[in-house]
C-alpha cells in the first residue's frame, strides 16, 4: 500500500471560529476529485463486510467502485437501490460502529470514509437533478404509513415502488420526523431533507400533514380504509428525571430545545416567531448524539460555557465520533462521572444551578458498559442558567394511549413479531416506536423489512 493511501482524503470543514456563529453544515462535502480519490483507496475486498454490517445492506463496495470510476450516476442508483435517503444517512449514520468499523482497509490504515462518499453521491444527484427512473406497476391495495420519519420513509418508498397506494400521515406541519425536528441543520441541512422528502411526492406517496393518528384520525378508521398499516411513530416523547426543580424556568427537555431550534427555527428569531431562551452557562444532561446536538446548538445561540454532564466517561459516550469531536472543537466541555441529583432555583423562578454527585465506574451492566456508581457524599453544585435533559426519549403516549388495543412493552414500545406485525392483524410497526430510540439507519432498515412483510402479507404469501 502506498503511504498516501493509508490516510483518508481529508474532509474540508467550516473553521471553528466561523461555524460556531451559524447553523450551516460543518463538513463542506467532497468535490468530485476528492470523492474519486477517496473511493480509489477501497481495495474492493471480496468479503464486503461493510455491506454485511449495514442495517439496510447497501451495496457499498459497488457504490464506491463506480465513484472511483467517476460514474456518479451509476453510483447513485446503486446507493438508492437499498437506501431511499443516502444524502441523509451519509451524514447521520454512526458509520464508525457499522460499515467503517469492519472495513478491511481499516485494519491496516484509515477505513474508507464511506459516510462522506454516500453523502457525496446523494448531494451529487441532487445538484445534477438525477433521479431513478421508476416503472411502477400499480396495485389497488392501499397502505397507510403513520409517521414520516426514517422508518416511515423507507417503508413508504419500498411499498410505493412495489405499486401499492401509499398514504403517509404526519402529525406535524412538515414531514420528516426526527430529521426535521431533531437533527440540527449544521449536521443535516434542511434543504437536503426537503429534497430527499420531495422524492416521496414524486413517486406518488400521498403525504398528509397535520394528521395526528390517535387524536384527529383514529387507527380504527385507518384499518377500515387501508389494507395494511405501518406504524413508524418514533420515540418522540421526552423523559423527565423526576428530580427536584424540574418545574423551574430555564429547564428544557432536549426535545423542546431542539424543536424550537430546528423545526421552528428559533435561531432565526425574531424573523421566525418561535423564541428560545438560552443562557450563558448551559448544562446538558446526557452524552449521546442528542446531547451533542443540544450542546452545539447552545454554542451557536451564544452560550459562553456549555457542559456535557455524563455519568460515565467520554469513552462510553454513545455519540457518534464526529459529533463528539465537533462538540469538543467548538468549546463544549465534557464533564465525566457526574449524575444530577437536583436542580436549584432562585426567587425569580429561574434555574440557578444543578447539584451533581460524583460517580465511579463499577462492574459492566447489561449494556456491557461499566455501571456508574454514586460516590456517597460527593455532591457539589455547578452554577447554570439553562439545563437541558437529553437522557433519552420514550414512544409518544398520545398515539398509544388512544389505541389501547395495540400491545406494548412495559415502557411503551410497540410489540411486534418476527415479521414486524403487531398483535393487530395487518398492522406492522418499526423504528424507534418498537426499539425505543436507536439510529436513523436502523429505522430505515426496519421500515424496509416491514415493507417486505407487508408485501408478503398483502400478496397472500
Amino acid at each position: 500500500m502506498k503511504e498516501a493511501d493509508r490516510i483518508r482524503v481529508p474532509m474540508r470543514e467550516q473553521p471553528v471560529k466561523d461555524r460556531v456563529k451559524n447553523f450551516d453544515s460543518v463538513p463542506l462535502g467532497y468535490s468530485e476529485e476528492e470523492a474519486m480519490a477517496e473511493a480509489r483507496r477501497c481495495i474492493q475486498c471480496k468479503d464486503r463486510p461493510c455491506m454485511m454490517r449495514c442495517p439496510v445492506n447497501m451495496k457499498i463496495s459497488a457504490m464506491i467502485e463506480t465513484i472511483a470510476e467517476g460514474n456518479f450516476k451509476e453510483a447513485y442508483l446503486i446507493a438508492k437501490e437499498d437506501n431511499p435517503i443516502p444524502a441523509i444517512s451519509g451524514r447521520v449514520c454512526p458509520q464508525e460502529s457499522q460499515c467503517e468499523a469492519v472495513c478491511t482497509m481499516g485494519k491496516k490504515a484509515d477505513a474508507i470514509n464511506i459516510g462522506k462518499l454516500e453523502a457525496f453521491i446523494g448531494d451529487w444527484a441532487m445538484r445534477n437533478g438525477v433521479t431513478e427512473e421508476l416503472h411502477i406497476d400499480e396495485k389497488d391495495k392501499k397502505v397507510a404509513v403513520i409517521g414520516s420519519g426514517p422508518a416511515g420513509i423507507s417503508c413508504a418508498v419500498d411499498l410505493r415502488k412495489l405499486g401499492y397506494q401509499v398514504t403517509m400521515f404526519e402529525a406535524l406541519h412538515v414531514a420528516g420526523g426526527v430529521l426535521q425536528y431533531g437533527i440540527p441543520a449544521f449536521r443535516l441541512p434542511k434543504d437536503i431533507v426537503d429534497c430527499e422528502l420531495s422524492y416521496l411526492l414524486k413517486i406518488g406517496v400521498d403525504v398528509r400533514l397535520n394528521h395526528i393518528v390517535g387524536q384527529n384520525v383514529m387507527l380504527d378508521e385507518l384499518r377500515r380504509e387501508f389494507d395494511a398499516i405501518f406504524v413508524g411513530t418514533g420515540a418522540g416523547a421526552p423523559r423527565f428525571l423526576n428530580i427536584e426543580g424540574e418545574e423551574l424556568m430555564g429547564i428544557y427537555s432536549a426535545n423542546e430545545f431542539l424543536i424550537r431550534v430546528n423545526l421552528m427555527k428559533a435561531y432565526d428569531f425574531p424573523e421566525h416567531d418561535t423564541p428560545i431562551v438560552c443562557g450563558a452557562r448551559v448544562g446538558v444532561m446526557g452524552a449521546g448524539n442528542v446531547a451533542m446536538d443540544v450542546a452545539r446548538c447552545a454554542v451557536r445561540l451564544g452560550a459562553e460555557e456549555v457542559y456535557i454532564l455524563y455519568r460515565r466517561t467520554k469513552r462510553e459516550s454513545p455519540a457518534r465520533e464526529e459529533e463528539l469531536r465537533h462538540a469538543l472543537e467548538e468549546g463544549v466541555v465534557f464533564v465525566e462521572l457526574v449524575n444530577p441529583t437536583r436542580l436549584l432555583g432562585g426567587d425569580d423562578g429561574w434555574v440557578k444551578g444543578i447539584e451533581l454527585a460524583r460517580m465511579k465506574l463499577g462492574e459492566p451492566d447489561s449494556s456491557g458498559r461499566p455501571r456508574p456508581v454514586m460516590i456517597k457524599g460527593s455532591e457539589f453544585i455547578m452554577e447554570l442558567d439553562t439545563v437541558v435533559n437529553a437522557l433519552g426519549t420514550v414512544p409518544n403516549r398520545l398515539f398509544l394511549g388512544r389505541t389501547p388495543e395495540l400491545e406494548t412493552t412495559g415502557w411503551g414500545a410497540i410489540k411486534v413479531d418476527e415479521n414486524l406485525m403487531t398483535n393487530i392483524e395487518g398492522v406492522f410497526a418499526g423504528g424507534d416506536s418498537t426499539s425505543g430510540g436507536a439510529t436513523v439507519i436502523q429505522a430505515l432498515g426496519e421500515g424496509r423489512a416491514a415493507a417486505a412483510s407487508i408485501h408478503n402479507y398483502l400478496s397472500g404469501r
Binding site: 397535520n210 418545574e247 425574531p270 409518544n396
Partner: protein, 279 residues
C-alpha cells in the same frame, strides 16, 4: 389545504372573533378541544380555544396581545392561514352532571364557556349556569357571542359594575355557593383567578375543572413544554388536558413558567412593529 378566513369581527377594543375554514377540525371537534394555528410560514404554533365548529368552519376568540395575534388581526376575510391543526386535547365528557357552572373572564375562557355550555345544556338533567366577567361595560362582547343563549341561567359581571353584577366571577360564586348546591364547576381564563376559584370551591368539595393555558409548541406530547403537576405527578396540558382538576393543580408552577418567554415576546412585538410600522 387553504384555511380561508370567512368572518372576522371585533368583540371589543382588544378582542376579535375569527372564523376560518378547517373541515377536519370542525368535523371532529368536541367542546373543550383546542386548535393550533400557524398564521404564516415562519410563524409559531399557537394554541387557540374554539367557540363554535359548524359547516367545516371553526370560530375562535383572540386577544390582540402578542405578535401573532396582532399580525393575524391584519388578515382579512378571504385571506388564508398557513395551518389550522386539530382538534387537539382531551375534552371532558359531555354527560349529565346536574347543576353545572362555567365561569370565564378572558377570551379563551369565553370561547370554551360557549362551547361547553351549549353541549351540556342539551343533556337532560343538567342545569347549566354560565358566568362571564368583563372589565367594564365597553368590553362586553356582542350579545350573540355571549353564552346567554346556550345556558339555563346566565350572569354577566363587570369588574367596575358598569354593566351586570359588580365584581369578578369569583365574587359572584362566593355568594352563589353559599346559597345553593352546585355539582361541578368548569372555568377558563386568567390563571390566578382560576387559582382563587380553586381555593373558593375546595371547602365545599365541589369538583372544579379548569382550562390550563401553558406554553406549547407541537401540542402533540413531544416537547414537554406544557408540563403541569397534578398532585406532584407530571402531566402534559396538550394531550392530558387542557382541563384539569383545579384542586390538584400546582398553580404556582403554571404561573411561574408562563412568564418564561415574556422578554422574547416583547422583542418579537418590537421587531414586528419596526418591520411593518404597526402600532
Amino acid at each position: 389545504m387553504p384555511h380561508r378566513i370567512t368572518r372576522k369581527e371585533d368583540l371589543n377594543t382588544m378582542d376579535y372573533l375569527i372564523e376560518v375554514e378547517a373541515p377536519m377540525v370542525a368535523e371532529r371537534f368536541r367542546p373543550g378541544n383546542f386548535t393550533v394555528l400557524i398564521t404564516v410560514p415562519q410563524g409559531e404554533r399557537i394554541p387557540m380555544s374554539i367557540q363554535k365548529a359548524e359547516d367545516g368552519k371553526i370560530t375562535m376568540f383572540i386577544k390582540r396581545l402578542g405578535k401573532t395575534s396582532i399580525e393575524l388581526d391584519g388578515f382579512e376575510v378571504g385571506d388564508s392561514l398557513e395551518s389550522v391543526i386539530g382538534p387537539l386535547g382531551n375534552p371532558p365528557e359531555i354527560k349529565r352532571y346536574g347543576k353545572v357552572v362555567f365561569a370565564s373572564d378572558l377570551v379563551c375562557g369565553h370561547a370554551e364557556n360557549y362551547a361547553l355550555c351549549k353541549a351540556l345544556q342539551k343533556i337532560d338533567g343538567n342545569h347549566v349556569i354560565s358566568i362571564q366577567t368583563f372589565p367594564t361595560k365597553d368590553d362586553v362582547y356582542p350579545t350573540e357571542e355571549l353564552s346567554e343563549a346556550v345556558c339555563d341561567e346566565y350572569y354577566l359581571t363587570t369588574l367596575d359594575g358598569s354593566r351586570g353584577i359588580k365584581g369578578h366571577y369569583n365574587d359572584l360564586l362566593r355568594d352563589l355557593l353559599y346559597q345553593e348546591k352546585v355539582d361541578i364547576i368548569f372555568a377558563g381564563g386568567d390563571i390566578p383567578a382560576l387559582r382563587d376559584l380553586s381555593k373558593l370551591t375546595e371547602p365545599y368539595d365541589i369538583p372544579t375543572i379548569v382550562t390550563v393555558r401553558q406554553i406549547m409548541i407541537d401540542a402533540t406530547g413531544m416537547c414537554g413544554s406544557c408540563r403541569v403537576f397534578i398532585d406532584g405527578e407530571m402531566k402534559l396540558t396538550c394531550i392530558d388536558g387542557p382541563m384539569f382538576d383545579a384542586h390538584k393543580l400546582d398553580f404556582k408552577d403554571i404561573i411561574n413558567r408562563l412568564s418564561m418567554f415574556k422578554k422574547k415576546e416583547v422583542e418579537a412585538m418590537e421587531y414586528y412593529k419596526s418591520k411593518t410600522g404597526a402600532r
